[in-house]
Amino acid sequence: MVTLDARIPDGPINEKWESHRFNMRLVNPANKRRFTVIMIGSGLAGASGAASLAELGYNVKVFTYHDSPRRAHSIAAQGGINAAKNYQNDGDSVFRLFYDTIKGGDFRSREANVHRLAELSVNIIDQCVAQGVPFAREYGGLLDNRSFGGVQVSRTFYARGQTGQQLLLGAYSTLMRQVGLGTVELFPRQEMLDVVTVDGRAAGVVVRDLVTGEVSSHAAHAVVLATGGYGNVYYLSTNAKKSNATAAWRAHKRGALFANPCYTQIHPTCIPASDDFQSKLTLMSESLRNDGRIWVPKDPADTRPPNQIPEADRDYYLERMYPSFGNLVPRDVASRAAKRQVDQGRGVGPKRNGVYLDFAEAIQRLGRKEVEERYGNLFEMYDRITDEDPYETPMRIYPAIHYTMGGLWVDYNLMSSIPGVFVAGEANFSDHGANRLGASALMQGLADGYFILPYTVGDYLAGLLGQKAPGTDHPAFVEARKGVEEQTRRFLSIKGTKSPDHFHRELGKIMWEQAGMERSKAGLEQALRDIPALRADFDRDLRILGTGDSLNDSLEKAGRVADFFELGELLIRDALHREESCGGHLRIESQTEDGEAMRDDEHFSYVGAWEWTGDGQPQALHKEALTFENIHVAQRSYK
């Protein structure tokens, strides 16, 4: 029986981390050498965590399915990273960042974790600057900030439109330094396919070499999963193509609880799909909404080119519905409104799957030069993808899945419900509640890796002193290896007619339709019938060509898609049970008279953590109650 103990330290909110750091056990330098820690993933959380643990003297093994750690998907983050430095003297503080994050998360995250995140944010910037991350600067040579995502202070640090890239290259450089020093052993092109536990504790992992197909075991005293989010369960998302949930899902099946899977984030300003073979969606910075006006033709039958549609025949629906916030309503409100327009047949573009984002007025007001100054690179990117010039014709935009707040359940120490298995970055559920603020993902990944894991993993290892870790000849390893090999054999032996991509696309359609921005009981129940049917077809009709002992992209995908089926089903189940609208999602049955999201704090102010109970059985729900002692809980309004 699982008991959910978040192990939140006692004391006032601003002293919890400080006192916890003092109370955690230390491992002396000579003993650190005796411990091995496995890191799965090399993104912001993984690279920073692995490097920091290795600096302390632990033996670290890093596994990534990429050819180089530098390719992890953190690299694609554009906007920036928040920190409560208050360099702008505009009233920012640790408490304000904490407050904004809890409120942005729609009161569905843990106060203690979020406060710690806000405290550590300032150290992250120091660390990154010392590594040589070339953040944007003012002419006086000091760091520049911009405002981001609806908050009222400027606390976002950035490096052109490539902040994620520069932060990851910083973390990667510190990781490679440790590789050079021999304290980190790097295993590229290796995919983790199982976590091994012995006596209920982490004992190691089983990985598959993607080039040779060889399945091998690695023993360790602790395993950290820093494997990112599961946005690709929707097939079309802004995530990289290889981003997947397999490592997290295998841990879930070995006993790690999966929390709040239905909390996924939708980004309103992406480029709509151009055809059925669209492989991913491209995000454009939300800052576009600062000057662009969103509209659709009033008449769904109006097929005139946008420039020929007179003002009187246009519906600037956000300005009409939300007069005070207009085009700057939060991500979820803007996304939902766009979906409604498209669902009502008022979508624009060749596939009628977008809404216009028009800069004509801005160009008139500011001049083309100023618009170019502000958005030139985004316009160029849009033009390159769509072959349409946004200076001449309005952009077309549509929401897309962007980030997942849910993930493996962790306690205050970032340890999952399996002792010795830690989870960091987007892979855990801990800090963003039901909705993440812009520029906070990078902050969380690096806080976890640089400043939390080095302490909390050490505390766990201190308890293992003098105990010998089970070797890879232990029956638990043998069984796990067999399971992995058996799965490969099964996929290759089905010899059906359809590719893994086919099934992934079909699954994505179900997920987006029923568990996208708007969810209803009937739709979710429909999905619970559709997914198993598709899964049965997958098991019967999958076609994987080639062998299991050479580079085989379809074989890799098959394993990931199989896990997405199960995760997708759990996501639906979680969404079905949460009969409230919160964060990014509107539950049709829970809205105000004028169609706004309505949270239900009385019944749903908790973390929903699901326990795997065996193949074909529904997971069991455990609840961790959320209490708010430092923040007044309120309903959002943007009218």
Binding site: I75, R137, M176, S274, H502
Partner: protein, 256 residues
């Protein structure tokens, strides 16, 4: 549009490679090059032919995973464009497109269009960092850095490590990659302490794997981030200084 694809197929590192010809029909001009390959692969799977293996991930030009020679040019030869950012509208109906893996001695083929670029990581691990342990960093605004300097460092830091510079170089040299990595750090005040040893270590490691630079300049043209070969001159300057001067006794004078 209808196209003919000639693709390099190679079953493994030791296997003999060959070109295979695949007719491709009904491609939309709005598709990306990699989506066109996705479609070809779907059809190959239907026909019982193993799909073409190629590297890709973010598909927005930042991860550096993708990269193939298209009609003999790295990433297809369009300015500041990685393979994933290339759209089919740049081709004409009826075109024949030749697709090959990166061609460089230091990048052995793993399978089909996938090559091993780990030599680039080897260069980084001997010096492509500033040695600062977690927790030991001073307050970020203690050290003002002129905006021009920071911007120049960022120009270098934009490198995505795709390897196009190596593939485009007749000598298979990695000077553009190495110099971008070096100058990102060498330009910044934080990077001064290790500047000379970093330069010597990375250049010498580079020479273990890659060919020599003879100023063809193909790398700069192929680079999807438009990184300038000026950085190579700075690297050469730093290398000579790092090699010829006594670092222990040179002190600040070495930096001038």
């Amino acid at each position: 549009m209808d196209l003919t694809l000639k693709v390099w197929r190679q079953d493994g590192p030791q296997a003999r490679g060959r070109f295979e010809t695949y007719p491709v029909q009904g491609i939309s001009a709005d598709m990306s090059f990699l989506e066109m390959l996705d479609i070809v692969n779907e059809r190959l799977i239907t026909e019982g032919v193993e799909p073409i293996q190629f590297e890709h991930d973010c598909r927005e030009g930042i991860c550096g995973s993708c990269g193939v020679m298209i009609n003999g040019k790295a990433h297809g030869g369009h300015e500041r464009t990685a393979t994933c950012q290339l759209h089919m509208r740049t081709f004409k109906d009826g075109d024949t497109i030749v697709v090959e893996p990166w061609r460089a001695g230091a990048f052995p083929v793993i399978r089909d269009l996938v090559v091993n670029r780990s030599a680039l990581d080897r260069i980084i691990e001997v010096g492509g960092f500033i040695s600062v342990n977690t927790g030991s960093a001073p307050e970020a605004n203690m050290l003002p850095i002129p905006k021009e300097v920071s911007d120049a460092a960022m120009d270098a830091a934009e490198c995505i490590g795709c390897g196009a510079c190596v593939a485009a170089c007749p000598n298979g040299a990695a000077q553009l990659f190495t110099s971008a990595k070096l100058q990102h750090l060498n330009l910044l005040p934080q990077g001064q302490a290790e500047r000379w040893q970093r330069t010597v270590a990375m250049v010498e490691k580079m020479e273990e794997y890659f060919g020599g630079c003879t100023n063809h300049g193909e790398c700069q043209v192929a680079c999807p981030k438009g990184i300038s070969i000026d950085f190579i001159s700075y690297m050469n300057r730093d290398f000579i200084k790092g090699k010829s001067l006594n670092r222990r006794l040179g002190g600040q004078g070495l930096a001038k």
